[in-house]
Symmetry: C2
Subunit: 215 residues, 2 copies
DNA sequence: TTGGTATTTATACAAGTGTATAATTATACT
DNA sequence: AGTATAATTATACACTTGTATAAATACCAA
């Protein structure tokens, strides 16, 4: 009975912070924002609740950090995979579209996570800033890909039109992503990427589907 | 001091229920789901909190009813205005698209209202059923309008393709609606309807913009 | 080995939450 | 006018929430 190791481990602040952030995200995704209480978060990270206040000045601080973490993760997940492995601009654009419309990006947890945060965006200016920046970051990447693909196909497009195309394509992707996550089971496997490719292709005036199955 | 009228008014159940639902909706839209407490709802409806439990078996019941109310309202708002005043099928489709991309449908309150509910959809089967039905109802109307417009233009389209077109157009509208509501000020007046018309037109292969300014 | 210190736990608290129950009171009907 | 009844209020309760503060403890440096 007298045998007992250390009762807890001291970890570097950065590491603990990330663990708490990940706990927060998984909890919001799983049980909704309402389920992400300080006690639940601490429990999932295997610490006691007091620690949260030590690393974050308030719960709102933690939520904000978690939101930022999640959003940049999502964008990376859509943009990154195999960015260099595609030869043509067109196939890079196609990959961007399909990446955003397949798991793990399309996922019920992801959508409800996003929705959970949306409420706080209106109230908290910091949240609003993150939201705005994430949206524009994503859309700008998309716009660049579209511009490249059109240039490659020798289609001349004024930049004023380009903005509208990017907004529209972004909307298709967002809309399909949302519906796929909110209604799992309502779409066949591969249906969303297919529809996404065809729609984006129709909007910008290129056939994206022919370039798909290219690894 | 001895002078005092009736301390409260008895109203028909149906009327009180709706008043409570409207209070709930305005409160969620304004302060988020977290702000919609039984006390706040009752206060906004000028009643005491006990009355909520008299008309609804639980708060969840009220939330569910409010969700149902809101969703059917949104669909009506998009579909209804001037349904008969349009001559061609194409202009009816165009009106459907633009209606959903203008105020009052596009509105920060509306979007955060929708997002607030989304969390509860995953947990509550009744919510899920309402969500599913609302989505399909909206999409079916859209699909019918698309089918009519294509028939009118003498473009033959198999029903298997029609489904994909409706999903895609629905996604564009949803995505634009979401972005317009989540980022008020990021888009010029009339920009969303314009982009919506052009995109839906491109997807189904019809020029919807020429038919617009028709009252 | 011995402090020193930031990390971590332990405990407490005030405010707000949804719910339950009994006491009032308006109103329709006889 | 009187009464039954459903609507409405009033009050209370048990529980959860975020936050605050003090005590304990692991780990680094000397």
């Amino acid at each position: 009975m007298s045998e007992s190791g250390p009762k807890f481990r001291r970890e570097p602040a950065e590491q603990r912070k990330e663990a708490l952030i990940l706990s927060t995200l998984s909890l919001i995704a799983e049980k909704g924002v309402r389920g992400a209480t300080v006690r639940a978060i601490a429990s999932r990270a295997d610490v006691t609740q007091g620690l949260i206040r030590h690393h974050f000045s308030s719960k709102e601080d933690l939520i904000t950090a978690a939101y930022e973490h999640h959003m940049s993760h999502m964008t990376d997940l859509t943009a990154a995979p195999g960015a260099a492995s595609h030869h043509s601009c067109k196939s890079r654009l196609a990959a961007f579209v399909t990446n955003g419309l397949k798991p793990p990006v399309v996922d019920p947890r992801s959508v409800s996570l996003w929705a959970g945060f949306l409420n706080k965006i209106r109230e908290d200016p910091r949240m609003q800033a993150i939201h705005e920046q994430t949206y524009h970051d994503f859309r700008d990447r998309l716009e660049a890909l579209i511009a490249d693909a059109l240039t490659e196909a020798e289609i001349d497009t004024p930049s004023s039109q380009l903005r509208g195309l990017a907004i529209a394509c972004n909307a298709v992707i967002d809309g399909l992503w949302m519906e796929g996550g909110a209604l799992p089971g309502a779409f066949e496997t591969g249906e969303l990427p297919e529809i996404g490719l065809r729609s984006v292709g129709a909007i910008i005036g290129l056939d994206l589907e022919e370039t798909e199955n290219r690894s």
